[in-house]
Symmetry: C3
Subunit: 209 residues, 3 copies
Amino acid sequence: MDSAALLHILYLVAIVAEAMTAALAAGRRQMDWVGVYLLGCITALGGGSVRDVLLNRYPLSWVEHPIYLVLTGGAALATIAIARHMRHLRRLFLFLDAVGLVVFTVIGCNIAMGLGMPVIIVVAAGMITGCVGGVLRDILCADVPLLFRAELYATVSIVTGGIYVAGQQTGIPHEVLMGLAMATGLALRLLALRFGWSMPKFVYTDQLH
Amino acid sequence: MDSAALLHILYLVAIVAEAMTAALAAGRRQMDWVGVYLLGCITALGGGSVRDVLLNRYPLSWVEHPIYLVLTGGAALATIAIARHMRHLRRLFLFLDAVGLVVFTVIGCNIAMGLGMPVIIVVAAGMITGCVGGVLRDILCADVPLLFRAELYATVSIVTGGIYVAGQQTGIPHEVLMGLAMATGLALRLLALRFGWSMPKFVYTDQLH
Amino acid sequence: MDSAALLHILYLVAIVAEAMTAALAAGRRQMDWVGVYLLGCITALGGGSVRDVLLNRYPLSWVEHPIYLVLTGGAALATIAIARHMRHLRRLFLFLDAVGLVVFTVIGCNIAMGLGMPVIIVVAAGMITGCVGGVLRDILCADVPLLFRAELYATVSIVTGGIYVAGQQTGIPHEVLMGLAMATGLALRLLALRFGWSMPKFVYTDQLH
């Protein structure tokens, strides 16, 4: 199996995992089954969609492959059935969520590089792909997005994208580099979860207005 | 009058009705008159705009027909003047809102079919057209979108679009089919309101994070 | 220095000022440093991005000039260092925020006029450019957008754009007109802040649903 096929399989695992964690967020807000389905689709596919709209890249992935809407929405609905077991699967899902973050990031970087974008935009495209789905989920749940407060989430995406982009200048084979960037980002995320690492917070209490 | 003209008139009624219900939501949040105007425009025209951005279909309807911004914003402002009577018009507005939902849905399906989209995307385009305006309204009011919790709202849109799309395979004349899909969706929505039908809810209380 | 260069310098001042006020909003929500950076970029560049997506104008400014992501994000981070002094700079920032509003508005109008848009869309494009960044900031902080409730904020943008557009029909030289529109809008905003002027509010308490 070549690396493109492996990346695609990881992508499918990632959108399913993101849809399932979105379903749990929907359950916490007591959404109905249609809401669960939709929040699953939007969370799993929203990051890539926003990236493509911002970069003017059409058709969007789910317009070209409508099966993604069935896969992610179906995974969200299936989560309802197995919700009682989710507590025991907590570690598995945090792991899959971390895998999704780095896979989305690398895919987003690849797309921006394919469009000939400058380095900063490549890293930004990776981060948008990796993080915006979760932001949309939080907005639709009327929460302050976790991204802006969580353990190294966006940071992991930036580090992954940064290694991947910087490595292009070296002689490292493309597939090795991709694996290296994802492995580093994944390790950083898992260590952050394990040891509660987080970025320093900015606390400001005055009112400007 | 042919069916295209009728559909256009229904569309105008629908955007006015959506703008007026948005004005009431704005009033509940004590927005100022400019906020009322803007929330009216965004709620009435936002669903179609998001659909067109996702499908890369330009110009957007209100860019091509700026009068829509005057019509919907004006309807929102007029709502302030008649707000004291809105209580008595409650049933009328719930009815017009339901009409708007099925009209928007069919128009969204028509546009996606005109672009040669696959069946799932046609139904999705109908639902986005019908439902996203209300989601934007709820986000701008910092509420959890009603769509994800309300009586069969998104479901009605999916049923309407599903009948419309499935019927294309039969020999039913296009205009009859359109009327049939809208009548079925409208009846379903009104029955859901009357009898308090709703989709089952997913309630989940554990924290994954 | 010609007027285009002056407008560009004012634009750079405006995006820096918007990023810094966004950083304070992030601090009130105790976001981490990455969140501060991102909220700064999104607030400063979001209005122009939404305008360009709606008008199908690509590439977006920050995709063409990635340095804007560094400038605005860096300004947001720098705000953390000087936050203790921000209280004394309150007036300065309210002034710069007002400058940003009218500068963004005129730039948005210019872009829509360059695309040959009708008058209403030109004014709307100015208002979207001037106001949407702050709306995105408030949504990401899970607040009801200030725009819909604040002192003449959107109104100032509409007045500025209206004067600018209406003046095109007169013989007033373009650069004089631009200065006149911005000066009027700026004066209106500062007077509104000074005297607490605001649009009347719409207060509605019944539940439609």
